[in-house]
């Protein structure tokens, strides 16, 4: 018999975890002498009450959907891909190369081309840790951490020594040609009279991210490969008996994971900066961990969690502007979410299970 009804497992446990994280964050704000209620009000106002704020929220959410899905696909195969950051950096490199050196006639074609290459570069960067895990037994967590640092050094080298335009000081590529500029929400949704999403960076990539959610849903729950990934994640020995190759599943799920992380670069590099900068990923690869944990590795949950984190990022950066609360508050909240939904899951779950058991006993 299940200890808890399914709804409690899927909704109640994460909800309580988030409330705990929120409560501690509020205490942190109190402790540094600020008003948490006022802080929340500013966050809502700046991130949700104007179309511009929403445009920023959705822009950040787009990044987190990709990286959240990336972590989730690996989670389904019971692997922890901390390498989203490095994979996204490499995805950005791919995007920069095709945008700079291929004469695209129209942005739609450029988007398809860049999506393919960013996924390819991200997947390639995930391939080596995946191969080492599958064939040599190296721990994927450690290798992906190492690959984040290696990616940073590699990208730094390429930007400074190869792709930086002559005479420029900052480690970044030249501006992409105009034909590769993606339509922003402002250009898509503004009418002749009213400008919507003014200067917000949200762009068409958001819909690519939504499509990725649908695609991951079908992959994991509606295809043979997805079944194999879940079976492998559930029990490696069981999967082996069923004739599922651990090597294949390890590598394939990490390739998909890396590809998704790489596609995040579409949003930051092609959609927003329109050139590749060194810190384009801005830690979004790591936020993917919080998003995937909070969304319980389900695309719907990931979408909601990504929107919440998008809201927190936009609200948090405005908070630094309006109050004395530094932007790092978001990192603290992110840490608490990861801690409660990921590591201290049992702390919430055990008392709840007892509660439900005692309720059932009362019924019987």
């Amino acid at each position: 018999m299940d200890k808890m009804p399914a709804w409690a497992d899927a909704v109640l446990v994460p909800l309580i975890s988030i409330l705990l994280a929120a409560a501690i964050s509020a205490l942190v704000i109190l402790a540094i002498g600020e008003n948490p209620v006022e802080a929340f009000r500013i966050m809502v106002k700046e991130a949700l009450s104007t179309s511009r704020g929403i445009g920023y929220t959705l822009y950040y959410a787009t990044n987190f959907i990709f990286t959240g899905l990336a972590v989730a696909v690996a989670f389904h195969a019971r692997m922890f891909n901390i390498g989203g950051e490095g994979q996204a950096m490499m995805g950005g490199l791919g995007v920069a190369l095709v945008c700079l050196y291929v004469p695209w006639p129209h942005w739609t074609l450029a988007l398809f081309g860049a999506a393919a290459i960013s996924a390819l570069f991200g997947a390639a960067w995930a391939y080596i840790p995946a191969y080492l895990q599958a064939k040599r037994g190296s721990h994927i967590v450690i290798t992906t951490i190492m690959f984040n640092f290696i990616a940073f050094s590699l990208l730094n080298y390429i930007l400074v020594n190869v792709l930086r335009p002559q005479g420029s000081m900052d480690p970044a590529t030249a501006k992409f040609p105009e034909a590769t500029f993606l339509p922003t929400f402002q250009s898509m949704f503004s009418t002749a009279d009213t400008v919507m999403f003014r200067n917000a960076p949200a762009n068409v990539t958001f819909f690519v991210a939504l499509a990725a959610c649908v695609a991951v849903y079908f992959l994991i729950w509606r295809t043979r490969l997805g079944y194999e990934i879940r079976a492998f994640g559930h029990s490696e020995t069981g999967a082996k008996y069923a004739g599922i190759s651990p090597v294949k599943i390890t590598i394939v799920s990490m390739l998909i994971s890396g590809g998704l992380a790489g596609m995040m670069a579409l949003n930051t590099t092609m959609g927003e900066a329109e050139r590749l900068v060194l810190n384009a990923t801005e830690g979004a690869g790591f936020i993917g961990i919080a998003v995937a944990l909070m969304g319980r590795s389900h695309p719907v949950g990931i979408l909601l969690a990504a929107l919440l984190f998008g809201f927190m990022y936009q609200g948090g950066s405005e908070l630094a502007f309006w109050t004395n609360i530094p932007q790092q508050l978001i990192i603290v909240i992110q840490a608490l979410v990861i801690l409660f939904t990921g590591a201290l899951d049992n702390m919430v779950r055990m008392p709840l299970e007892k509660l439900f058991l005692s309720i059932r006993k009362g019924d019987a």
Partner: protein, 321 residues
């Protein structure tokens, strides 16, 4: 390249190896007991902040050191709760604690000192002083050995000597004491330890706490000895390099010393020379920065001797019923 440059680079290697060594030995205790710890970075960072902040406010660097250790222990305790008591995922807990330290340090620093997330500079006389060993000045002019003794071995801070002394101590504790044997056993076969009537949970908490103390010293070294105060993200990935060194050393103390000296040397070289010209082939500075990570991946891949982690590493222990 003259002897002075070489001594300078080696001296800076020792300075840069010290925090790596402390963090690496910290990880060694934890992982030998079966608790993976990728939160070394966060523990160092939070200790760096509190040691700098308390040293600055009290003017006593030793109190600062204790404050740093206490802060680091607090994170260790959370890690222990998550990974031992509540049997959560140790890796996720480590990731969370790294972020927690990264965010909290800046948040507290900003509200405390209002200097954009850093502490004020600690005056020179309040920091850990360089200790001059006996005869260091007298022997300076002896060729070759003179500079090595007076510049490399002498003239480091107390914490650096503690760090290097920790290597034989760690070796002795782990391989020559009953506690060490049990600690290693708990990382390999916790059920056997349990059967013998020794508390798995107690041993693991002890290991995690030792790890906290050593990370605390490492953080204090960074903020009150190597540098004069805390700046945002000042650990700069050292916790991960220490983790890399731990794997490179295959979880053994003396090898950890070698690995940390090597990685410290790489950092010193990257700091001193930007691009290295080896007779036509230029090694870019980014290559030097990435080398510890690349070497670790190579070792992990098992092409050059296999790195086998403690068998029960990462697995929460569930008592049989």
């Amino acid at each position: 390249m003259d002897i002075d440059t070489i001594v300078q680079v080696l001296d800076s290697s020792i300075r840069l190896s010290t925090p790596l060594l402390l963090a690496c030995l910290a990880g060694l205790f934890s992982e030998r007991a079966g608790i993976f710890d990728i939160g070394l970075e966060g523990k160092m960072l939070i200790s760096a902040f509190f040691s700098a902040a308390i040293t600055f406010t009290t003017g006593n660097v030793w109190i600062g050191l204790l404050a740093g250790i206490a802060a680091s222990l607090a994170l260790s305790l959370i890690h222990g709760l998550a990974s031992i008591t509540f049997r959560g995922n140790q890796l996720i807990s480590g990731v969370a604690l790294n972020f927690l330290a990264s965010g909290l340090t800046v948040l507290i620093a900003q509200s405390w000192f209002k200097q954009g997330g850093r502490t004020p500079t600690i005056p020179e006389e309040q920091r850990f002083q360089e200790i001059t060993l006996p005869f260091a000045d007298a022997l300076r002019d002896v060729p070759l050995l003179g500079p090595i003794y007076s510049d490399l071995i002498s003239g480091n801070s107390a914490l650096a000597y503690i760090a290097f002394l920790m290597v034989p101590i760690t070796w002795f504790v782990l391989f020559r004491t009953r506690f060490g044997l049990r600690l290693r056993a708990v990382g390999e076969a916790p059920d056997a330890v349990d059967t013998a009537g020794v508390s798995v949970i107690g041993l693991r908490y002890a290991a995690v706490m030792i790890c906290g103390v050593l990370c605390g010293i490492a953080g204090a070294y960074l903020a009150t000895s190597l540098q004069a105060g805390f700046v945002k993200e000042m650990t700069a990935g050292r916790g991960y390099i220490a983790l890399a060194a731990l794997i490179f050393a295959k979880w053994r103390p003396w090898y950890a010393l070698m690995a940390c000296l090597l990685f410290g040397f790489l950092q010193a070289v990257a700091l001193r020379f930007q691009n290295i010209d080896l007779g036509g082939v230029v090694i870019p500075v980014q290559m030097m920065e990435a080398l510890p990570y690349i070497l670790t991946v190579v070792i992990l891949a098992g092409f050059v001797g296999k790195a086998i982690p403690p068998r029960a590493g990462g697995e929460p222990y569930v008592k049989e019923r």
